[in-house]
Structure formats: structure tokens, C-alpha cells
């Protein structure tokens, strides 16, 4: 193959994964985290909006429209709206001088999240599992932020599942550690690793694909969740649950209720 052509091909894939954009163009982007998150969100929203548009177009063109298409459109739109809400909440929380935390039942939050994600998961050939074995005291958190964070994270995990015929599982799980109560989202993605997440944190909002070994989209759900957990001083970290890799936050148990 022509050497100049090969050079051109290689130049299209920079180390950042932002194909076709020169480094000088990338450096022109703002590095403000909220702006980066907004760009990642905007890039991510192309996917559900495209899914909605094309599903609706197909349903219109097909005289034997399957009512399931309307359900697909509805769940997809719901997830997109939750992503937007998660982002807006993270911006709002970051602007508060003192964020008030309260005792929150992790089990209740994760159960609600699993239910919310289950309909979307079905569309991706995936099951959502809950692993809440054991008794856990409430954690000090903001309930709305926890719900938004786990929903965003779950959505990102479901959307990033390897598209194979095998049935996949996304697990929401809790366990105890020396630092507190660890609750996260886990999946059978083969390529997860701490270096992947670390690179993603450096790339989101600067590259179209911040997690290119995991997701064809921007992975905004992961970074929206990260921003939300960060406001509660519990940033996301790589974690393992049985044989699954994932991302989890370590939350402080509510000492007040331990005395009750």
C-alpha cells in the first residue's frame, strides 16, 4: 500500500483516540471539568437520539409496526433524560459551598436503580443483578446524587457491553471494606483495568471516545457518575466483585444511626 496513504491512516488515530483531529485543535478545548463533561454528554447524547430517530423512522416505514418499538423509544429517551439530569445535578452540587449529606439506604437506592435499568438492559440483551448480601447501615450521602450516579454508571456499563449473542450481566453490588461501604456497578467487560479508567479521566470531553477499549461512544455516564461521587468526597475507583470488574464508590456509614 502507498506509504503516504499509510501515514495518513496512522495520523487519523492519535494516541488520544480522537481520530482526525490534530493535537493543536484538541489543545484549543477548554480544560474546565464541567465544560469537558458537557462536551462528553453532548457527544454521548447523539447515540440515544439517533436510536430514537431511526427506530421511529423504521416504525413509520413498516406497516406491521411492532409496539415494542414504542417501548424502546420510551426507555431510550428516559435514559437520555437521566443522563442530562445527572450532569445538571453534578454542576449544581459542585456549586454548593457546603453539601449537606444525610443517612441514605444503599440497598433502597440500588434496588430502585436496578429496576430503572432493567428495561433498558433487556434491549441490550443483558440482565441486571443485585447483590446486597449482608446487612449494611445507611451511608452518609445525597440520595438524589446517589440515584443519578448509579443510574448513569449502569447505563454506561450496559451500553458498553460487548455486543455478542451471549447473555450479559451487569451487577449492582455492595460489600464492606476497611474504608467504608463499597457499592458499585460491575460487568463482564474483558478490557477493564485501572489504567483504562485513568486514561478515560484524562480524555473525557477532549476525545470522542474516552474509553475506546470499552465503548464506541464518549462514556459520559461514567464521568457524570464520577463527578457526582466526587461531590460526596467518594470518587469512583476500579473494583472487583467476584470475577467481575467495575467501578465503585466507598461511602462512609452513618455513625449516628449505629447508636440507635
Amino acid at each position: 500500500m502507498n506509504k503516504n496513504l499509510v501515514s495518513y491512516i496512522l495520523s487519523l488515530t492519535t494516541k488520544s483516540g480522537y481520530s482526525g483531529v490534530s493535537m493543536s485543535t484538541m489543545q484549543a478545548f477548554s480544560d474546565v471539568p464541567q465544560e469537558r463533561l458537557l462536551r462528553a454528554l453532548a457527544e454521548q447524547l447523539k447515540l440515544p437520539l439517533l436510536q430514537i430517530a431511526r427506530t421511529a423512522e423504521f416504525a413509520q416505514s413498516n406497516p406491521d409496526t411492532n409496539p415494542e418499538h414504542l417501548g424502546d423509544i420510551s426507555y431510550t429517551a428516559d435514559m437520555a433524560l437521566r443522563l442530562i439530569d445527572g450532569y445538571l445535578l453534578s454542576v449544581q452540587m459542585q456549586s454548593l459551598p457546603n453539601l449537606e449529606l444525610e443517612p441514605v439506604s444503599l440497598s433502597a437506592v440500588l434496588q430502585d436503580t436496578a429496576h430503572r435499568l432493567s428495561l433498558l438492559a433487556q434491549q441490550y440483551g443483558c440482565d441486571v443483578e443485585l447483590n446486597l448480601a449482608g446487612k449494611y447501615e445507611p451511608v452518609m450521602a445525597n440520595r438524589e446524587a446517589l440515584e443519578a450516579a448509579y443510574t448513569s454508571l449502569g447505563y454506561a456499563f450496559i451500553e458498553a457491553l460487548p455486543a455478542k449473542d451471549a447473555r450479559h450481566i451487569v451487577t449492582l453490588a455492595v460489600h464492606r471494606s476497611n474504608q467504608g461501604i463499597v457499592a458499585g456497578v460491575y460487568g463482564d467487560h474483558p478490557a477493564w483495568g485501572s489504567d483504562v479508567f485513568k486514561r478515560g479521566r484524562a480524555l473525557y470531553g477532549q476525545a470522542r471516545q474516552a474509553l475506546p477499549v470499552l465503548s464506541a461512544s464518549s462514556g459520559a455516564g461514567v464521568f457524570i457518575a464520577d463527578a457526582l461521587f466526587d461531590t460526596m468526597a467518594s470518587p469512583l475507583r476500579m473494583a472487583r466483585h467476584h470475577k467481575l470488574n467495575g467501578l465503585a464508590a466507598t461511602l462512609a456509614p452513618s455513625k449516628q444511626l449505629q447508636l440507635v
Binding site: 480522537y18 482526525g20 447523539k46 447515540l47 439517533l50 455486543a163 464506541a216
Partner: protein, 127 residues
């Protein structure tokens, strides 16, 4: 019947595109990754490839490079159907032609019918 190799990483989108194109009488083989697409091309001998550039793992550009390295596939037209805007891709017309890219469709701006029309333009539908 036109045989289309559709390289689409999103399962839901792949299903919609596949269903629509099949309703137009075309045969569609779906691959979600670049590696799977090379194997699928070997198995199905596509008449046309519809290619998303933004993939998981190896990119669509890497697939393009590998696909065009095989002599038996030099003449297979490729329609790029992607989330990457033309401005971001930055390829000029001559470079696109060298890759055998016959059309560049930006997904947010292209309907299902646009895709079908593009395929029919380069690989006419046979009854």
C-alpha cells in the same frame, strides 16, 4: 440480492439498520467489532460494506486499512456511515476514493432511507 456487511458497534442501532435494509430486500451481515468484520467478510463475501469509524477496540480506520490490504476486496465499495462528522474525519475526496469509500454518511444527518439509497446507488438492488 445485495449482500451488505454492516459494521455497527451499537446493538440497538444494528438491529434497526438490519431490519430496515432487510425489509428492502437486502441481505445483511452484522459485525460489531473490526476483528469480527474481517472474519465476517471472509465468510460472506459482501457486495458492499457499511462502516462505522468509531468502534470499540480497533477503529474503523484500522479495519479500512486491513480490508483494503486484501486483493479480493479491492473492488468492494465502502460506505462510511458514522458518528464522526466529516469535519472531524478530515479526509479529502481523493483520499476517500483511494480507500474505495464511495460515500461518507454522517449518521445524525442520514435517515434509514438515505442509507438504503446510497447502497442502491453503488450496488443496484436485484430482484
Amino acid at each position: 440480492m445485495t449482500r451488505i456487511l454492516l459494521l455497527e458497534p451499537d446493538r440497538k442501532l444494528a438491529e434497526v439498520y438490519r431490519s430496515f435494509l432487510e425489509s428492502k430486500g437486502q441481505e445483511v451481515v452484522v459485525a460489531h467489532h473490526a476483528q469480527d468484520a474481517v472474519m465476517a467478510a471472509d465468510a460472506c463475501r459482501p457486495d458492499v460494506v457499511v462502516l462505522e469509524l468509531q468502534l470499540v477496540g480497533h477503529s474503523g480506520v484500522e479495519f479500512l486499512h486491513e480490508f483494503r490490504s486484501y486483493a479480493e476486496w479491492w473492488s468492494v465499495p465502502i460506505i462510511v456511515h458514522t458518528m464522526v462528522s466529516p469535519l472531524s474525519f478530515g479526509g479529502d475526496e481523493m483520499t476517500l476514493r483511494r480507500f474505495g469509500i464511495v460515500q461518507y454518511l454522517y449518521k445524525p444527518a442520514s435517515t434509514l432511507q438515505h442509507l438504503s439509497d446510497a447502497i442502491n446507488e453503488y450496488v443496484p438492488l436485484t430482484a
